[in-house]
């Protein structure tokens, strides 16, 4: 079973397996340092199914739920 980034709890560390979105989303995430193989820590999850805040390569990025759902990850 695949897990996606939106279902990861706060303060958990995961490794990116793949990004299931189209060209645009892959490129945009890549620019912020999120590629297959990168390690991500989920730092916060906003209320009302809002965005999640992650830390990647020492930098913080906010991802909307819809975007996070396209990032396939595995437990690290």
């Amino acid at each position: 079973m695949t897990i996606t980034l939106d279902s990861i709890g706060e303060n958990q560390k995961v490794k990116v397996v793949s990004i299931s979105g189209g060209w645009g989303i892959r490129q945009r995430l890549g620019c912020l340092g999120i590629h297959p193989g990168d390690i991500i820590t989920v730092k916060r999850s906003a209320i009302m199914r809002g965005p999640i805040l992650i830390s990647v390569h020492g930098n913080q990025v906010a991802l909307g739920r819809g975007v996070a759902r396209k990032v396939v990850v595995e437990a690290e």
Partner: protein
């Protein structure tokens, strides 16, 4: 010599720019677009330099309007030297853009900015080694304090003279083979000439499936198109992932390797400012602080604004009767002059006192890094009206002036989001409309009533947002937003930023205000205002307003706060309550807030979202204003 500053967002590019170019800067738009860049002519080392600050760009692969325009600028203009500004604490990620800039084979210098931040985060960088690997000079700076900025430009000047370009670094062997083969095809068919880029750069963009270069292709040469598809497939088959991911992963790992070679990572020092997010982004406290911060912010703006506005307005009110005595109230020249003076007064005494503290406060919040946090906190709410978190930024700007607010919608990725955000932004009461709410409702009715108008306004915007997103059902791309570290803002940089934004108002909106007010004076001189009043009589009687209010409504299009001045002029007294009931005041204010955006706004909308959608906006807001004002008439 032309120096271009290029770097990722939040790298401190603009801070460096403001240090050398400061108040002399001019904001220009890219041809035909509302995407802006700033440039300035500066005298350094006895020579005139043109320094251009391009919009922050994560990559040279294009998806958002600002990034696309920044890249086009680099390709089209004869740039003497590029200063690649890097946030040293994010060296590894920033190098991905640097590698792409090197592929363009332009003379370049690297500015390793915020070197102090990096050290605090436990990253120590071997500058010389980095310079050796990339083949270009590297200059560490702390732009906020001005450290190293002069030296940076001195090196840039020398390198620009020498036209020294850096090294091109290689990817894995098998990827390089594909790139080489495609480059040969490109060379044979002479495709790169047209784009004026090196063949390797073009080959990479094709392998990355970059829509700009691909689209330009499909129209022309079918032959090379087959080659491109062939090589894309080859890469994705051998690596088992799309070819664009192959290239970006290659760049990513190359950057990480360089980073590991030049950087020594130790334990970071944690400062108080790093802990701010524990409260400011907390799922509950975050919202309490957000409301508190915004309340303090707007309160400060109103207080400062009122302090400046009152004496200034009084001064202008004194001038007009003096001129009237000199020239006679019935002469044509007096009506022209009083029109011009009222236009000037509208800008100086009414809008500027509020706009300046607003923009300055906003620049402070922005430099501190709080705006992306607001976007994070409000993303879920904005999804309810079919937008996402980032659109809060144009909305907040809208409380200052609608013109920059609409310009700020360019940070949104999809055209649909930009359109919805633009329409909604026109309904937010700007500084000019705020003066009406304050001078009429807060003064004659009660401050609570004024607050109620603001709340009603937000509710109407939410409902309109829901309607518009129903009309244009498309899933918004979702938010991907960097949340940068907090920085202590510099007053000097914030002032320079404020001034740059004020210029937008001063040179776009203000001249229109003066022209509008002069036209109104002329209309009154020739008694044409009665015709307009009669034309609007169905509307004024529907809303239960005095007939003389008709002209003031049409002139609110020219400038919103003019409506109030005109109202006073039209009813012939400054004591509004003597002529209009509280219901009428409320109806009038509600109508003014929502109906047709002012002329300056229409001009920007036209450029940004096109003629059809602008006309739609005008119709939509007018109908909304009529409905709301009619309801107010009977309910309030």
């Amino acid at each position: 010599m032309k120096i271009v500053l290029m770097g990722q967002p939040n790298s401190g590019k603009s801070t460096i720019f403001n240090h050398v170019a400061g108040y002399k800067a001019v904001t220009s738009n890219f041809p035909g677009k509302t995407v802006e860049y700033t440039s300035s002519k500066v005298n350094l080392f006895g020579e005139i330099f043109e320094i251009v600050d391009l919009p922050g760009t994560y990559s040279l692969t294009s998806f958002d309007l600002a990034e696309l325009e920044a890249r086009k600028y680099l390709l089209r203009n004869s740039v003497d030297i590029v200063i690649n500004v890097i946030d040293a604490s994010l060296l590894s990620r920033s190098l991905e853009l640097t590698l792409q800039l090197l592929e363009l084979k332009l003379p370049m210098v690297i500015c390793l900015n915020m070197i102090d931040e990096a050290e605090r985060k436990g990253i120590k960088i071997d500058v010389e080694k980095l310079s050796k690997i990339l083949g270009v000079p590297v200059m560490p700076t702390i732009a906020l304090k001005g450290n190293g900025v002069k030296e940076l430009f001195s090196i840039a000047y020398k390198m620009g003279e020498k036209k020294k370009i850096g090294k091109t670094l290689n990817f894995s062997k098998d990827v390089e083979e594909v790139i080489a083969q495609l480059s040969t095809q490109i060379k044979e068919k002479q495709v790169n000439r047209e784009f004026n880029v090196p063949k390797r750069f073009l080959a990479l963009k094709y392998l990355e499936n970059d829509s700009y270069f691909m689209e330009n292709f499909e129209k022309r040469d079918k032959d090379i198109f087959k080659d491109i598809i062939h090589f894309q497939n080859k890469l994705s088959e051998t690596h088992n992932r799309p070819s664009d991911v192959v290239i970006s992963s290659e760049r990513h790992s190359l950057s990480m390797n360089i980073f590991e070679e030049v950087a020594l990572v130790t334990r970071p020092q944690i400062k108080l400012i790093d802990r701010l997010d524990n409260t400011l982004m907390h799922p509950y406290f975050g919202y309490i602080f957000l409301i508190g911060i915004l309340y303090l912010f707007f309160n400060a703006v109103f207080t400062v604004g009122r302090l400046i506005e009152e004496p200034l307005l009084e001064y202008f009110y004194k001038i007009i009767p003096l001129i009237e005595i000199r020239m006679g109230s019935e002469t044509l020249s007096f009506s022209i002059i009083s029109g011009i003076i009222q236009g000037l007064a509208g800008g100086i005494a009414i809008v500027l006192p509020y706009l300046f503290p607003f923009l300055f406060g906003l620049a402070i919040l922005e430099d501190l890094g709080y705006l992306p946090r607001i976007a994070f906190l409000l993303d879920a709410f904005l999804h309810k009206i079919g937008l996402h978190g980032k659109s809060i930024i144009p909305f907040i700007l809208g409380y200052g002036c609608t013109v920059p607010a609409i310009m700020a919608t360019r940070i949104l990725e999809s055209g649909r989001d930009r359109f919805i955000a633009s329409v909604l932004a026109t309904m937010i009461p700007c500084a000019a409309r705020m003066t009406i709410i304050f001078a009429l409702v807060a003064f004659y009715i009660s401050p609570q009533a004024a607050l109620a108008i603001y709340i009603l306004n937000i509710i109407v915007i939410i409902i309109s947002g829901k309607i518009l997103s129903r009309l244009l059902p498309e899933v918004t791309p979702g938010m991907i937003l960097e949340i940068p570290s907090y920085h202590i803002p510099s007053i000097k940089v914030a002032l320079a930023k404020t001034w740059l934004r004020m210029k937008e108002f001063i040179f776009i909106a203000w001249p229109l205000l003066i022209v509008g007010s002069t036209i109104l004076s002329l209309l009154q001189y020739y008694k044409a205002d009665m015709l307009i009043n009669n034309f609007f009589s169905p509307l004024t009687s529907l809303l239960g307003l005095p007939l003389v209010v008709g002209t003031t409504l049409i002139f609110g299009i020219l400038r919103k706060e003019l409506s109030m001045l005109m109202l006073i002029q039209a009813i012939g007294t400054t004591d509004v309550i003597a002529v209009m009931s509280t219901t009428q005041i409320m109806t009038f204010t509600i109508f003014i807030i929502f109906y047709v955006p002012c002329v300056a706004t229409i001009a920007v909308l036209w450029k940004e979202i096109g003629s059809k959608r602008t006309l739609f906006t005008i119709a939509f807001t007018s109908i909304l204003a009529i409905i709301l004002a009619s309801i107010t008439r009977f309910v309030y």
